[in-house]
């Protein structure tokens, strides 16, 4: 039968003592760790978006500055066509709408027709 080495016995006891040792984090350590966590935590995307102003949100939706430049060019062109329409545009408008357009909402004989209806 093998004899247990007394040094091994001591070491095994020592290991057992160490394993049985309990330690709880102090409140101070907990606070330090949580402060580190707060400093290191990435800010959430929803929080970042909520902090964006209305202009930034609008830019986000339409796709940024390239889209803004396109919108600006289209607006200027529209105003210019309205103020000084080129002849080609005038011709197209005339062909669709005629030179003069008038719209009557109520027919001039509406009263008579209604009267006819009432009298039977």
């Amino acid at each position: 039968m093998m004899m247990t080495d007394p040094n091994d016995k001591m070491l095994d006891d020592l290991f057992a003592d160490a394993r049985a040792f309990k330690v709880a984090p102090s409140d101070a350590l907990m606070a330090r760790v949580l402060a580190d966590a707060e400093a290191a935590q990435p800010k959430s995307q929803s929080v970042q978006k909520a902090r964006l102003g209305m202009w930034a949100q609008f830019m986000d939706v339409i796709g940024g500055w390239p889209a803004v430049s396109g919108l600006a060019a289209a607006t200027v062109a529209g105003i210019w066509i309205g103020v000084a329409p080129p002849s080609s545009v005038e011709d197209i408008t005339a062909s669709f709408m005629g030179d003069e357009v008038s719209v009557d909402l109520f027919s001039s004989d509406f009263g008579f027709a209604a009267g006819d209806f009432v009298d039977g």
Binding site: D17, A18, V23, P25, L34, E38
Partner: protein
């Protein structure tokens, strides 16, 4: 300390870390409550010094917060990763201590012992064990600590240390033998002379 109900109850640590990385304000608290006690215990057992162990525990948790946004899910368990980080941080400190060991460094009382005399003896034994670990090569010290102080099985130690199970067996066997030789001269001093 934490009276709030855990909204992450049942969720794995990894899910909390993802929540933390996504800006969840509560995730850090509940993750700390789960992980810090074991991290601190591992550091305390290896270093035998409460204030050094607290510094290591804080450092290890800091590394966890920093790696959170890049954490690759399913690749490693947080517990395995933390065991490795704490073991490395502790051996860094043990290496600095090597050759300049003094029991006077370990004067702070440790909690959890019933009487002053028992507390002092526990202090002395933990400090002696830590000082003996400091005499070992880093990898031996880590393997011995994970096997005999944390009580982990060899396959898990192999994962933590990123080596084969056979290497773990070799490191722990050689480390334990060397530790026994180092501790042999301190039996009486540590109260082991009555067996």
């Amino acid at each position: 300390m934490n009276a709030q109900p855990d909204p992450f109850a049942g969720a794995p640590d990894e899910a909390l870390l993802v929540a933390f990385a996504n800006g969840d304000g509560q995730a850090a608290r509940f993750l700390t409550t789960r992980l810090l006690p074991r991290v601190l215990a591992q550091a305390t057992r290896m270093l035998g010094n409460p204030s050094e162990a607290e510094d290591v525990a804080q450092d290890a948790m800091m590394r966890l917060w920093k790696i959170a946004p890049e954490w690759r899910q399913g690749e490693a368990q947080i517990s395995t990763w933390l065991y490795r980080v704490v073991a490395n941080l502790c051996t860094d400190r043990l290496r600095k201590r090597r050759g300049a060991v003094s029991l006077d460094q370990v004067a702070e009382p440790l909690d959890g012992t019933p009487s002053v005399a028992a507390q002092m003896q526990t202090n002395a034994r933990m400090a002696a064990l830590s000082d003996a670990l400091a005499q070992l090569p880093d990898r031996q010290a880590q393997a011995v600590a994970l096997r005999h102080l944390e009580g982990l099985p060899n396959p898990e130690i192999a994962q933590i240390m990123d080596i084969s199970v056979r290497s773990v067996e070799s490191l722990t066997a050689r480390g334990k033998r060397a530790l026994a030789d180092i501790m042999a001269g301190r039996k009486a001093e540590l109260g082991y002379d009555d067996d």
